[in-house]
């Protein structure tokens, strides 16, 4: 924090030059522009709090602290609210950082789920084998980091059941997922073992369509939508946080609900 005497609001550093961009590059200081409120803030404190590097690293540190706070608040037994079929949002929205026609097309006949890390059996799983696993169903609310929400119906097998079958070391800290389009995602083990965390093969009792993540998504009603990966092709039980697509761009890592 360095002292400054200039009038807030006219500091060239506060001027926004890229007004039209919805999602800027994850460049330095990208979180820190936002002229008027920061201008007022600068005025009130007399300090240049938007000294980019400091502020951004402080914000990231607080976000890590918030990961811990959310992990402490997370209950292994508390269930997300469930809804009747009549509450299902139709049509359920497609959502990704690419258009629907760019969504990955996975061939179910050759698909194999790769399993790696701290597990007894690393044998890949065919879709037929996965579909033979016991099926549970949930109608829960998908909540997007953007704020909107939609109620969907998902069927599949509890991830905890699958982790048991592959002999996963559930004392490990994380489960990491890799998706067909290159999307990645790391979750905490308590969430992986939550009773509503599901390896999902069906939406509304029909095989997942391409837009909802065929052949498999991981449904976690205890986490924001972007933490629910689609088109999952590999998973790893690990003690190393491998980050994720959106988390690395600045979204909170835990993103629990």
């Amino acid at each position: 924090m360095r002292q400054r005497r200039t009038i807030p609001g006219v500091d060239p550093k506060l001027l926004i030059k890229d007004a039209a961009r919805v999602m800027p590059d994850a460049s330095r200081r990208s979180f820190l522009r936002g002229a008027a409120s920061l201008g007022a803030l600068t005025f009130l404190t007399g300090c240049d709090i938007i000294d980019g590097d400091t502020a951004e690293s402080v914000l990231r540190k607080i976000s890590e602290f918030n990961d811990g706070a959310q992990a402490a608040l997370f209950s292994r037994t508390k269930l997300a609210p469930t809804y009747p079929e009549s509450a299902i949002t139709r049509p359920f929205p497609f959502n990704a950082y690419y258009d629907e026609d760019e969504a990955p097309q996975v061939d179910g006949r050759t698909y194999k789920l790769e399993v790696a890390g701290l597990v007894d059996s690393k044998k890949p799983w065919t879709l037929e084998e996965l579909h033979a696993l016991p099926e549970v169903s949930q109608i829960t609310r998908h909540i997007c980091v953007e704020g909107w929400s939609a109620i969907g119906s998902w069927q599949g097998t509890p991830l905890s059941e699958f982790l048991k079958r592959i002999g996963a070391d559930t004392r490990a800290k994380y489960v990491w997922f890799k998706c067909a389009e290159g999307y990645t995602n790391t979750i905490d083990m308590p969430t992986a073992l939550h009773p509503q965390t599901q390896m999902t093969f069906k939406f509304d009792n029909k095989i997942l369509p391409r837009s909802y993540g065929f052949p498999m998504k991981i449904r976690m009603p205890t986490k924001l939508g972007f933490k629910n990966p689609k088109y999952v092709v590999a998973m790893e039980v690990t003690n190393t946080d491998k980050g994720g697509y959106w988390e690395d761009k600045g979204y909170n890592w835990f993103s629990g609900l």
């Binding site: 002229a35 008027a36 209950s75 704020g147």
Partner: protein, 232 residues
Amino acid sequence: MTDKDGPAHPQARLRRIFVESEGTMMSAETMISTAPAATTIHPRWVRVCHWINALAILVMIGSGWQIYNASPLFDFLVFPRQIALGNWLAGALLWHFAAMWVLVINGVVYVTLGIVTGRFRRKLLPIRPGDVVADMKAALTFKLAHDDLSRYNAVQKLLYTGVILAGVVIVLSGLSIWKPVQLRELTALFGGYDAARYVHFFAMAAIVGFIVVHVALALIVPKSLRAMITGQ
């Protein structure tokens, strides 16, 4: 003046207890304040809490507008990026969930001290509808006196009490949106996740409305701004 002196009249006794407790509270406030009790309008804890809150609320509102823009509740309302904080959704969320700790911790300290020192009761109560109407009329015709800044008029009492309540609602509805599973009972109290978003929005709108009036009046009566800085 003890009960040993004889049975006091019940009302007189009540009155004495009230006066004594007032005295106790005054000295409690004076102890934390550096200025002499007679001239202190706002004790130090009020001023410290006020300015920390002012900073936190600015960050919360600026980043909240950016978050709102990611999925607007109303077709006709998008906040200009120039007045929103964080540049894009992730940045705004980082700000929002950092400033929330400052807002909530400071808010809890403020409300706790406001209650235990008796300041809320003395300064904000009672609020009589008749007084509010009379003072509102006087304010709108520029006849409202500001000679004694240590006493709030009825409109001030109503607005300050209202904004404290809006602060409680915005924190609780914010928790409902942030943790609709872990705090699902709280979220249900607001009518569910989607309804809680609207409650959160309107509580923000109420607070912004308050800030506009509050800042305008502080600038019209500059000695009130001085009182919140120096205490006198």
